[in-house]
Symmetry: D4
Subunit: 210 residues, 8 copies
């Protein structure tokens, strides 16, 4: 079959590198892609990959997030802080994927875990810190109510990331996804389920054009 054809012009076109989606790719395909990046001295981020897929590559594997990062040139830091607010400990994987993506895109961030609405005081005590963020990424599974509460309290851009954390009707994340899309609080935007990486890219789109 024909060869892998990476999109190295993406940086020029839309201001951020192509990020490699690891799931469904074989170890061989990923190593081949990595070799091309090494040759070009290009920074590389692989998401949703396993330790086996990236074994033997130079770089940093994050087992919680399932990401592999290889930095050749430190990315230029953008203005503006990104807040990553997560509902529970179980949402850490997705939150961490966002954090690792923000790093390779040059965005500074601060995370706030365990802010679920079952104990809303935990969110409120972080109010002053959250108000300092330029963009808020809100990560939540189950019923995803956190996005609505945040949107009612803060005026910044809000990027909701539903997670697949849950069971029964919330298994797979659809309940949280629909809750964020249907939020009665105005102007919540939503990513695909578990798409912490995409949320970081959306935040980058806001920051790099400020």
């Amino acid at each position: 079959m024909s060869d892998i054809d990476l999109d190295f012009e993406r940086g020029k076109r839309i201001g951020m590198p192509e990020i490699i989606y690891g799931e469904f790719k074989s170890r061989e395909q990923i190593h081949k892609i990595a070799a091309i990046h090494e040759e070009k001295q290009a920074n590389m981020l692989v998401t949703r990959c396993t330790a086996e897929q990236v074994e033997g590559l130079t770089g940093e594997y994050d087992a919680v997030a399932g990401t592999f990062t290889r930095i050749h040139n430190e990315p230029k830091t953008l203005n503006g802080l990104v807040g990553v607010v997560a509902a529970g400990t179980s949402d850490a994987a997705v939150a961490k994927e966002a954090v690792n993506t923000l790093r390779i895109l040059g965005c500074e961030c601060k995370d706030f875990l365990d802010c679920g609405v079952a104990g809303v005081h935990r969110l409120i005590k972080h109010s002053d810190d959250i108000k300092k963020c330029r963009v808020i990424i809100c990560v939540a599974g189950f019923e995803g109510a956190l996005a609505s509460v945040i949107a009612g309290l803060f005026s910044q851009p809000i990027i909701g990331v539903p997670t697949s954390v849950g069971y029964g009707v919330s298994a797979g994340g659809t309940a949280a996804l629909n809750a964020m899309l249907a939020s009665c609080a105005g102007g919540v935007t939503t990513m695909n389920i578990d798409n912490g990486c995409g949320a970081a890219m959306a935040a980058h789109r806001i920051l790099h054009t400020d």
Copy 2:
């Protein structure tokens, strides 16, 4: 075809009368059922009915709730107040169906409208009054986040009623239903979409056995 066979023993068996579900019944069927009730001097509640269906019957039609009530004997009042908390003005129809059903079941209630989480202070200002209720019925459409927030703040039994208010992914009420079922806050119970009547019956089950 064979005749209508009503369940007048239900009161003895489970402590509440059979309630007539009006949708899908013809005007003739409802009038026939009403005549049987008149003859037995039995109280009667018809839900989800139109003005046309009950035209000509003695009793009270509530156009907002779509209910028809005919009282022959004032029901015995039970101990304990039922709070009916609704997210928005659009949820009034379902909230009203609950209120009208509570009345025929002998349950006292107090309603709290416009408590949606987009402006959570509106809920919090009613805190003291809500704490006095023995049971809380929580009515909400769109993403139904109100149930989670209430369950995190109050310790009483909570009966969530998702409504079909919404559009896109929340059209028909499934988003709110799933949010209530998947609530991260413990012990929320849920009714079918728009089932204000059933919520009232569930509240009655709690009160009449106290």
Copy 3:
């Protein structure tokens, strides 16, 4: 990333402790949470966890229910018996989760297994015992018809718990869930699929405010 932030105030606020949802959490996260509980001498219940996740912790692991319980201070016993009625042997896991949660919440309970409607006489022979319960938790998979039959026979609060027991159209529990939500018998309340823990919490909400 930031630290785990548990909600130890929940007991004061809503009368029951935070229960730890084990699925999606790493062994490390659970052990960290356990250490905080040990330090505070707080009772702890972990649901949906595996033996591996809790290995090495002091406490009781129940392999059928998938729960881990650690009691420091015997919970105060509440008035009122909770009946846990299950349709079949296959529903035992969910019924047991409810039973174990009731225990840590201080609720006494009695279970009735193999009461499926395919042989309804098995339910009817327990009628007198079920009538003595303050609350009925009804656990059923497949088509979940048990909830409707129970609601037609008994007047107490009924908390339906659909289980994921089944295959084809009932795989995952949606058929049973929808059957309970759509029950033609009045006032059945419903929990998320397999949520035995939540049903126990809902029962507790009724009992502790009696």
Copy 4:
């Protein structure tokens, strides 16, 4: 476009006439089909049709069932009684469609309405009569639990017909359909939602080959 091509050989092949499905057909198409039947002196049944569609045709329109019947030659009566058991008054339309179809197929039947499981004694009082039937057609909407209860009590062939009677999760009949398919009671067979006509044909398949 090419002409209508009816299947008049069906009677020879599978023992019953082609039945005309009225929905989605224009008044003109139905009248054209009727004219062909008149010419052949063939009995004709149109289901799911409106009064407007059959206006001007000789025959009997049943407004409850939405069927039009035109008998030229009385069908041969088959051995064996078909019982049509329905859960509620709202299910009468579908039950009646079954009854009218049974008539044109030469099957005798007896109907039992208002047998919903919310008051299961109403079913039980008909037990002796139901036991005399060769086949039981069970018609129910909402959660469709009636089929499971009947299958646990009687040994005859059971043909479940879920109806679209209900709202929220049971709107359109899917909840009842899935409940019948997933019945924990053995050997329930199921038809499409509202398919009273098909249930009658399935009963005919059993009777005519006895």
Copy 5:
């Protein structure tokens, strides 16, 4: 927890024994149930079980069908042959479950495999044999078209069993299920996906009351 409560009266009530559904049951539960059967010298059929679950029990395990059969008393043979027609080799598991269930119910049967409509001549060459059957069980995955073709050609009772054989839109069997329910050919009845056992029970309901 309370004890297992089997329904040994089912034979008297509906003419067939309780069949044990093996999935979701532990090895211990199944062995306990087997011991009760041994003690009562009752025939026993377990469906959807693995070799591990029944290891050590006396009886016959069928690895293709996933069934375990233990016969103490040869069941009484009923009049009438049941034809089991399957679309492809991949549907053999479900067809075999039907065959094994028919055996314990005393029904004689003949199977016809590889009759898929992609090569409809393979079905037609069996026409004479199929015409001799009293009941036809039709087993098919993918798009399930076989049921419609059979119903157009034969006049006997037809029990469709959709299988989970397929991928993409037919993964899990829903496409075949809906095709059978929506069949344009009259009087096809349908079972839950993969429910070969239930189809056999439905056939038994027809035969034993002949």
Copy 6:
């Protein structure tokens, strides 16, 4: 708002004109589009439109198909006949939409109605004529089994068009759609539900490049 911007270059690019999708467009928008076509003397086809939307325009409105056609220059006739095979009279609207689109694209066609698999002999009697077609468009609702049977009998390209004709599980056409996609017969291609127009365009793509 900005102006309508039609794609008149489409003919050059992909060999067929832009076809106007009428649904969701106002009468004003359609008349504006028509005026632009008149000015350019361009042929115009509007699909899924009502008589009201095109009232006052010069051209031909087909009430069965819901199409409006305006021919300025007779399209060049392509080689090869397109067969349009439909399952039932109710599918005529979609078949007619295909026929009218084929006409404006310069494709000759022949239609075969009432070929549903419930009476498969009606299809077989047209075998010789169907074998003469270069492409077969297969239009069917309900369970859509016709596509599989045709694909097993004929070797030409087959374009399946599921229709929304049906009720219950086939309401809206999803059952037929999935059946065509999952066809066990090789090489059936599928269009969106009711998309007769698209099927004609797909046929045109085959013919014009022959």
Copy 7:
């Protein structure tokens, strides 16, 4: 029942006024809400309303968008242009709702209609103008591919709004919604189906904090 309780503090809290969702509200409720706004001299926007609902009120009704606008005090204009790019003429209603909401929020905008990917040159010819926008709102029905193409070409924040324009699998907008959520192009954010108003609010969140 209790009174309407509007959230006039929202402006202070999150920088934009409460917008009134008209669907599901009665004419009376809307007029009551309008009176409160008049009294407070507060600007008011009602979305998804009919001409009947707002008849008699002072202000501007837009029949295409289904919005009612009443301006008392011209909103402060924010820096940065919002581009509203729509796939087809049929998407104009949703695009217009976005435009009207942007106006009341003080955001300047420019619209680009008929940019569907079936003729991608129509999008490309607007490239220079689109590059000048601070935020891009992308409105598309059917398969919603426009969002992916735009995200591959431009580096600004992209807010996708799927519309309910389409039929068959795209009826109701789910196909377009899922396409936007699953976009292979990085950083597309998504709104609920037809939520032009919410997209404008999300754009405002970006602009007012710049």
Copy 8:
């Protein structure tokens, strides 16, 4: 049970051999089928099979595509090139299944990988080569937008194959499937998810009748 009955006449009837679908078949069944082919010296292709299933057979196993090929007689080469255009590296498995099927059907092909719309220039640079193809197979997961873009640019027959590559709303391939079915670009035909084999057969239907 009865024996395997292969359809060796299919070649004569529809011009291509029966292809063996490996999933759901046991190793024994596949080896039995292979032996029949060996005996008849017939070419054989097994799709969706594992290395274990075909271990010990003479022929070629392709681990990426999951296919097993055994050629006895080189198939006759047809006129016309088939282009296989795939969106990303992850779609290679499905593309390869198409390529391997085309080979056994005697169709020549050329593949174009990594043509996803996130970097549409990669597609455009292959324009001249793609224009030379008689048929285009378009393979894409995630949101499947590639099919719409290709259909807007090229005039040949287009066979879309959605893949199950993706997560969240695109997990399993439904988002891509619906996008292709709902494509705003005219005349895209669609296969079941991951059905590369079927796409090749559809291409063969076009070529062999040219």
